[in-house]
Point group: C2
Amino acid sequence: MKLISGGICAAKGYKANGIHCGIRKNRTKKDLALIVSDVPAHAAAVYTTNLVKGAPLTVTKAHLANGTAQAIICNSGIANTCNADGIEKANAMCELVSNTIGVSADDVVVASTGVIGQPLNLEPIAEHIQELADGLSENSGEAAAEAIMTTDTVKKEIAVEFTISDTVCHIGGIAKGSGMIHPNMATMLVFITSDIAISPAMLQKALSGDIANTFNMLSIDGDTSTNDMVTVLANGLAGNDEITAEGEAFNTFMKALNTVTVNLCRIIAGDGEGATKLLECKVSGADTEQAAKLSAKSVVCSSLLKAAMFGADANWGRILCAIGYSGADVDVNKVDVSFRSTKGEIAVCRDGAGIPFSEEQAKEILLEHEIEILVKVGNGPYSACAWGCDLTYDYVKINGDYRT
Amino acid sequence: MKLISGGICAAKGYKANGIHCGIRKNRTKKDLALIVSDVPAHAAAVYTTNLVKGAPLTVTKAHLANGTAQAIICNSGIANTCNADGIEKANAMCELVSNTIGVSADDVVVASTGVIGQPLNLEPIAEHIQELADGLSENSGEAAAEAIMTTDTVKKEIAVEFTISDTVCHIGGIAKGSGMIHPNMATMLVFITSDIAISPAMLQKALSGDIANTFNMLSIDGDTSTNDMVTVLANGLAGNDEITAEGEAFNTFMKALNTVTVNLCRIIAGDGEGATKLLECKVSGADTEQAAKLSAKSVVCSSLLKAAMFGADANWGRILCAIGYSGADVDVNKVDVSFRSTKGEIAVCRDGAGIPFSEEQAKEILLEHEIEILVKVGNGPYSACAWGCDLTYDYVKINGDYRT
């Protein structure tokens, strides 16, 4: 398996584009993306568990009920959530795609991201949908990745190449997400494309299994979004024998998918609103998978620990504190904590109590941009990893007046 | 019932003092408090549910097993938590009090607040305990309130006078708490004194019942502290017939206690680390008490909403979002939202969707220091109130390098 370029168009038979259509006032910011498969693809998705759901998710869920899709349209700027006419407008977006590129409206995945509760104006989309379609290309995946960004400061794309029984297959993905990220059985917006042949049921199984250890272990700010969604399309153009059951081929696909999703998690966490650091909390030695996951996620969610990491302050007491209130069944008197970065590793807590360490060395390690927080909670067999970021002045700035 | 001055010494038979003994380097900051009842008092307490517990809590819990106490000692600066010798040192603090003022060590409540994981130096306490005791006075409650402060910017004290069958009774309280506040069956440090006569069992019942609607509905930053504790002493010097069962007298005491605790909640939330605003989320119309509480608490815990309030931005979508992921069983299509302050009230969301409103008027309302967020989730009979504060640059600053 190897990482390759090409993002959402890395797999065979996908074209994409992204433009500024006018939903956003800022003309330099693209706000409309389109991704199309040459042939109908099997599709699967997971959605936010927030009771407040964006209208596009309701429409997408209905369209994916038969396990197939061929196109994805996504706008940024307006979430199309908490609007009385939301469903109507999400359906209209699918119709516009259908009328322009000739795929069935039922085969369109629709997504929106941005401000909640402000009406979505369809006019800019209707006026520019032809321009968007005309620009569809295998080389424009980057434009699509840019068009779905909101407060993101970097575009998020990744792709891998791997083989199943000597057949070369690909998975590519793009994501948007920077704030309101605390996935719970779903996540921010992620679109994944593959040329693998796989049944809809196995595709859903792969996706649902994967996100439990990837996007659901990611938190920027503890706020589960109303518009979270991950969709994956698999158009079968790689030519492998269709995967219809568990086995070696399915495991290979799962591994490739996991490479894509873990990379997207790391990129999203590192680009959290206002973030200066990516935090990876790796918990080991737990007696149960739940204890490992609860502990890891609680640490990356702690506002106090996040602020300490911004200040490169080795305030490990806040890690113990976060594990203590996480609900995880662990013996807090057996917890060891170390910090690690490219500058080295330093142990700061052994058996739940502080040990002498060089504050100078700790500071040097914590001044790096990617920080690993290594926590051993006992001698059990379970481990987990969670991703997050530091809490900074810029998070407050970005969210103090987001709508203007 | 009326609010009176006097704080922790407002009730009959209590003396207090607070000094700088040297646990903190800053000589202008008091760091050691002592509160003493003239006679042994009935006592009750609730403690943090964090698995990581400060050593003082373990010692206090043992001392309160018989339902009586006579003195409270509390230092700030060091939490005496996650230290191998923590219990030993907490016991030593009680012995110092016992040897100096002649109460039994078993009747001493001990508490510490400050940095986790750094050893507590007993020397400054031993050297200054006599000075602390010599200054005990009915007029020094304020000094005790100051000595337990950490990042607090204002001292927190309150007192009420009320009557039970024509007997005048009093309750006074002080609190410290500014960060690491997200109580769960307990809270930050609160010491309450009363001259009422009440059995230990009824005192505990009153306290446990009260905090479910007061301190457990308060959040500054989502981090449940390791050293949370609320203790109440009742020395009986008011001369009322001892309360030993539910009834009118018990209800009057509960109401007075609630006045003290709600006021302390409001003061704590308004003085949250870096806070510029007190947020009160009042949820009504819920079908269950749990739905009302979960909704209210989720709103005041949302980092995004807290940042929006800092910016005086009427971003009500974040309120809907927070209710949606709160776990509360509510129909999000029936949610109404208004903002209220001394500048007026403005409705911004009706039946889960935005309604036109004056951004200018909303800004004027939200620029005030005390903001009520009024949420109606349906037509059910249950309501709840939660307290919080905005998320500001200063929260990040305070916590980016707390230990230095």
